[in-house]
Subunit: 456 residues, 2 copies
Amino acid sequence: MLRFLSRARSITSSVTQGIRPYSSTPSKAHLVLPGKEEDYPRGFRLSGIHCGVKKTTDADLALLVSDTTDTSAAAVFTQNVFAAAPVLQCKEVLRAHNGQGVRGVVVNSGCANAVTGTQGERDALEMAQTVDRTMAWDPSAPSPHSLVMSTGVIGQNLPIDRILQGIPKAASALATGHDAWLAAAEAIRTTDTFPKLRARTFTLPSGRSYRLAGMAKGAGMIHPNMATMLGIMATDAAISPAALQKALSHACDRSFNAITVDGDTSTNDTLSILANGAAWTNKDASDPLDVSQADFPVFQEQLTDFSAELAQLIVRDGEGATKFVTVHVTNASTFKEAKKAAMAIATSSLVKTALYGQDANWGRILSSIGASGVPMTPKAVSVSFLPANANSSNQGELRLLDQGEPAQVDEEKASAMLAQEDIVIRVSLGAGKEDARVWTCDLSHGYISINADYRS
Amino acid sequence: MLRFLSRARSITSSVTQGIRPYSSTPSKAHLVLPGKEEDYPRGFRLSGIHCGVKKTTDADLALLVSDTTDTSAAAVFTQNVFAAAPVLQCKEVLRAHNGQGVRGVVVNSGCANAVTGTQGERDALEMAQTVDRTMAWDPSAPSPHSLVMSTGVIGQNLPIDRILQGIPKAASALATGHDAWLAAAEAIRTTDTFPKLRARTFTLPSGRSYRLAGMAKGAGMIHPNMATMLGIMATDAAISPAALQKALSHACDRSFNAITVDGDTSTNDTLSILANGAAWTNKDASDPLDVSQADFPVFQEQLTDFSAELAQLIVRDGEGATKFVTVHVTNASTFKEAKKAAMAIATSSLVKTALYGQDANWGRILSSIGASGVPMTPKAVSVSFLPANANSSNQGELRLLDQGEPAQVDEEKASAMLAQEDIVIRVSLGAGKEDARVWTCDLSHGYISINADYRS
């Protein structure tokens, strides 16, 4: 997984659906959408408390538990060789349970428990074991029932005693609904400028309705540091672990693995989902959704769309970002090639600085895909800018390159379009029928200041 | 090939061997080393004139010719799919002649002749043909005898008449020695802050001495634009085209393809060398150096070292650069893996901003190699900073990570080291015996300003 980052900055992000982010107001009151209680999945309780990992009084320990014994779990982890102890611990828990009966997630912020050797591995295990003991979950199980995540400073051991003492406190604060989710979303923040939380209800072809909620963070920059992307989702759907993992991997490729702020991948990145089947009757739970059912592709599409919504909040909180950019590569031979080309554009420093400078510099876009390693025919490639609301139509399209030939660019129209905060870059490879979208931000002075100057 | 860029900026680069670059003086008088006439290869003549591609009166047309008919030529080109017309033309010339008898290089700056369709291809061919006619070179040859390079604005056709009229003027200005090389090096600049020119004499095991000179540019940023890296070298050694190509490819991997400013690859990047055998007697020319001779590996090493010196000037002129950073990956299984890991560090925006901020942030170094795709054992990896003059020793080494364990970092020593303009990052993968060096610069506010703000 790619890593994404974020950090407190002078500009305040305002994220509400359909309204431009990055308002200039310092108030954070409107950064979080008001949650509708009916959208939060049943049978899950959450809390967020302060246990003392952070030096401030900010919340730094989040707990999520499912009330259902046979909750399914799935996760996607960082591909970084230096995967942190909690990542290794999560993999072991999922392996030991084969994804079934994993019903807790415990997260601390303020310390990443990364590059911490065998002590770090013991600490991650003990966090999971303490959740089990506190919740009085089956002690005879081969492995604890909780996923463990940590984010914050690397190369330092956890203040493990404070965390272990905090877990019972977190357990006694567990509650349902929006406020509980928000408390947990607050507790996983490091230097995010706002908590990232969304919830929705969806209906499958069979007529079954489920709820889906999720929180994300992305991510902290404290010396010595690495940013971490965490995503924690929960649904009250009944679904087999295998189907859940398949849907999550599909969703992740098109959401958390389709965003980039600066192209780096942290040691701790984790995206997880628990599904507890609490939405319906026991009958429903005994007939969990599997990949062969007609409901599955729709569930997968819902999860993908929801994941993308959550992931995009990380880009909106991107360090120094002044633009939210959708890169849409169309007419590729495969999804993989479309995404590779899109990522080449989305990670190009030259493209990102041009966007910051509101410069319709199609040469840089062309150069970045030309060097991406994706096979293409130069004379089949077209490049356009589109306004954000024309994501799936051609309305307002500004052609820059037309099948390999430079277009006569209406500079006035280009300037007006690039002055917007939301921009769509569309590239047609003219090779096939597959497409991919990735989301990125611009590269600004703010990014440099956040990542270089903050010690001065 | 990667592309590297450079552009006029307020800070002035001072490059003299052993002296720190980036002096604060605005004078450019000392940016170019005084050339020793005896180091310039025999049998080559050069010129640089103004023909009118640039709107200013700056030189914009360079010509290099060899006086020897059977000059060998070799080149390495951009891997970008959108290779420009002059790149395609060069490939055709080298193919048609099989590298033998290619004796001219004509270069214009101010317009890249990239993404210019069939008109662009005709223009590039005509430039080469006009050099042939002007120099009265064999008209019966299957292809012109000159390489063609262009750099500057993309997406615009060349003002071809001015260039064709300029070629006879450039031919009549041809001369030997330092001033002629400098005039050519000036003419290939776009927005480089100084002309990049070096020359040296070297002796092979057989006792033969040769001269080697080269110039480089890297590179211009004008809207709409792409930067271009050009390198043009000449030696009076007698060497077969096959041996020359082999040595050049080896050298390029360890020089021009081992530098990065921002990781992008332009459409026009070209590195070329001509070898005319004019150094010695006819006896020598009739016995050209080939890969089987004991002289070859030494020639190759000389060319590699010289190419690295020339390539490093591009990094020294990197946009907004305040640091010159050597990334040295050691104890890798293969050179390819060592270089891949080194490039992952050298292109990481997080590493580069940390260097700009003088932050001993080994977490970012670790994260970047961990995500590089190079197989490694976390507990075998060590990371150090070294002062620039300790490139091949351990003197003054500052250990940051020792076989996967964080070291106790002497912050005072770290600050002093990172305050230097030249820094070495050494990473041992603990896996084998191969190593690779790449050179990069930091990522600063200057870079953002140059690439984003210059329209305002």
